[in-house]
Symmetry: C2
Subunit: 238 residues, 2 copies
């Protein structure tokens, strides 16, 4: 079965967490919005109020007849299908719990440049963004990265993976968080290798996985840019 991934064609954004899982799984998928007329098809699905099980927003995944929305929910689904999460209930929920904490973290990254409204330009909320980003860098970034560092350190199977002794989708997602933060907040992240050595090592290890490395080197991997969730504005990264 070929999956259809629906997400914006020009950014990594939330879709990237799904792309990484599909790539690591070696799954057959099409990135719909990057095909002819694909973005229109995505908007038509999102805008059809009669559609049963309609997603609120992208990314969403078509798997056979089903549409599955919400990034963490898509990963819950893919993790079970493609061996990217433990098969037992306890491990499955713990992996998902970590993913939901990453989703909270990502939401806070987004709000550093859009603290007032997603519908307004950054330039229209620059003053508020400076205050929010300062708090993010001083308090939230260390709190979240410190948490994931501690989770890696506390893993009874060793710090190479967040969950157990095998790679899971949440390892891929933490890789993406670190990659995005290094792009958006290079100053704030300069001390990361010393402060969060397990997290930074995990980032490097995931990047070196054969399928991930091939993906990152391909033109399927979009570059970071100032339309995505991770944005580099020097004034927000003092």
């Amino acid at each position: 079965m070929r999956y259809e991934l629906y997400y914006w064609a020009s950014i990594q954004g939330r879709g990237e967490f799904v792309r990484l899982a599909l790539e690591e799984a070696g799954a057959d998928y099409v990135d719909v919005a990057r095909t002819e007329g694909g973005e229109e098809r995505m908007m038509a699905l999102l805008g059809d109020p009669t559609l049963v099980e309609r997603p609120f927003a992208s990314p969403f995944l078509r798997a056979g007849k089903r549409l599955i929305g919400q990034t963490a929910n898509i990963l819950l689904f893919l993790g079970a299908r493609h061996g990217l999460a433990p098969s037992g209930e306890a491990g499955r929920l713990w992996t998902h719990q970590l993913q939901l904490t990453l989703a909270d973290f990502l939401g806070e990254v987004h709000d550093t440049h859009h603290p007032v409204a997603g519908g307004l330009y950054y330039e229209d909320q620059k003053k508020e963004a400076k205050r929010r980003a300062a708090d993010f860098v001083a308090n939230r970034l260390p709190r979240f990265l410190g948490y994931f560092e501690a989770v890696l350190a506390a893993n009874p199977r060793g710090p190479a993976h967040l969950v157990g002794a095998r790679p899971s989708y949440v390892d891929l997602s933490l890789f993406q968080m670190v990659a995005g933060l290094q792009y958006a907040f290079p100053n704030a992240m300069a001390k990361a290798p010393r402060r969060y050595p397990h997290v930074v090592a995990l980032h490097a290890r995931v990047a070196a996985r054969p399928r991930v490395a091939a993906y990152l080197a391909s033109d399927r991997r979009l570059p970071f840019n100032r339309q995505g969730i991770f944005r580099h504005y020097p004034e927000l990264d003092r």
Copy 2:
């Protein structure tokens, strides 16, 4: 087995979504932080970096030897145990997807009064809060409530429930969202019965369920207040 719920003793907050599910299920549970020394025990668990599967924040649930964190994840667990979600994978994920969309909605409610930093007082971000709340009331509130209204209308089993023909935890959560919004944004919600009739009817129907009604009338139900996620500030609800 007696569940232990860990959440702040003085607010409904995110914990309320779990409390409602436990109450509707008739589950045996203790609201730990509301017992002698309970808040200290909660903080000790959250602050112990050696704890395997440590939650990032409250609420979290102890179920036997397991600790389960993240509101939506706790509900995923309880839904399966207590018949508060469909048992098939497709229905289970769809229910969870709706819950995650409610979690996004709730995060935006929180940020109306805390757009800069959760660690600062409302009074220190009042100006930013006014801008953010204006956008929330004008754009985000109608978008989210309109979405849930359409999901109810599109349910092939009728608009009485979000998922299928039976109550699920996401019905309870939508009830709580409406209750909180009515408290925090009475002006903005004045037109809700006309604009979102299915949503408002669901709220009333859930409130009348015997176990929910008994809970709401008990002192286990904390009142809304200005320490919680839903806060009534007249200047944010013009």
